[in-house]
Symmetry: C2
Subunit: 205 residues, 2 copies
């Protein structure tokens, strides 16, 4: 067994598959394109992963495994102020989303919702931490009590995810190049943080 060679071949396939599945989606992806990109014979894809479905699930799971823990890393540093926690989270989240295509996950989950419901059970509890944390802040009168924590969750995620998913359309609409759009987004995490903090703070006036 030549472990050296087989790992590098498998890895080359995974890299190629990730790229193709992410850009074309499951339905648009072709086994031929993946093997071409990996520089190997198409039959090898089946030798290593049996079928297109199995290979896709491997890629999808890896993407989910990268994504989900991020959503659960919420209640570390219990001494940290909620403002700082929010800032830190938003900044990390947006950086992460730049590198990892959220659209890929969303597109495939909508195609086949079982991908989410059957494969992320172990993370589902963690997802609730955010809402519970903000419920507690409200009870402790640290933030306004007339906002729904679920709405905060939705607003925060929308502000973080959509501008990166929709970059093509936004840069077209705003009549700027994608490079200029990137520059525009440089200051964006700061703006989102401040907006949310402003929204949650007790009103002084």
């Amino acid at each position: 067994m030549n472990t050296e060679t087989s790992i590098s071949t498998e890895e080359a396939i995974l890299v190629a598959a990730r790229k193709v599945f992410e850009s074309k989606g499951f339905d648009g992806a072709r086994m031929q394109e993946i093997s071409d990109r990996a520089g190997i014979n198409r039959a090898l894809l089946h030798y290593y992963f049996r079928s297109k479905d199995k290979m896709f699930e491997r890629i999808f799971d890896e993407a989910l495994e990268r994504f989900m823990p991020l959503l659960s890393t919420w209640d570390q540093d219990p001494d940290e102020s909620w403002e700082l926690k929010l800032k830190r989270f938003i900044s990390t989240f947006i950086t992460f989303l730049k590198a990892n295509s959220m659209l890929f996950l969303l597109r495939e989950i909508i195609r086949k919702p079982e991908l989410l419901t059957s494969r992320s059970k172990k993370y589902r509890k963690g997802l609730n931490k955010f809402v519970l944390y903000f419920e507690r802040l409200k009870q402790e009168r640290q933030i306004r009590s007339d906002v729904d924590s679920k709405h905060i969750y939705i607003i925060m995620h929308s502000l973080c995810s959509f501008p990166l998913m929709n970059a093509i359309v936004f840069s077209y609409s705003l009549r700027i190049s994608t490079k200029e759009y990137d520059e525009l987004m440089a200051g964006y995490p700061e703006i989102v943080s401040n907006l949310l903090i402003q929204m949650l703070k007790h009103q002084n006036n």
Copy 2:
């Protein structure tokens, strides 16, 4: 020429095609599924629309034609306050998005960016109206001048679009049913409006 029959057949095909293309995407859509849904022979699809590509373009264009004018209806009622204008726009926009799948457009534009760049030229100028309007408000000192109008645009669209596109994932994450999610979203347009108005108003403290 039996106009009556042929219009209703063509219309039945378009209704079916819209449904299938929107839920499966171009790559996942099957001509057979469309004709089954329309209750006609598959060859008729080609009789009326020549090819899958042509049929798709018809559906895509119709979706774009429904969507784009909405983004351009901005500078009506010049007497109206900007707050009211914003509220009215957000409310209309969210209602519209509930009925018309934004995800469909986004998915296909990312698959083939020419769909956007070659087919929406006539609307591109209108898209800029929003940014220009807010630039003017800033010069007139009606709103804070330290916010980027492009950021306002991005934030507003993200808050309106993403919660509807991502409904499956959000309701799963929040551990509520899709029905409960709909109820949660009932008060959402109001919240988005207030958030944006709060963000744009001059700070009193």
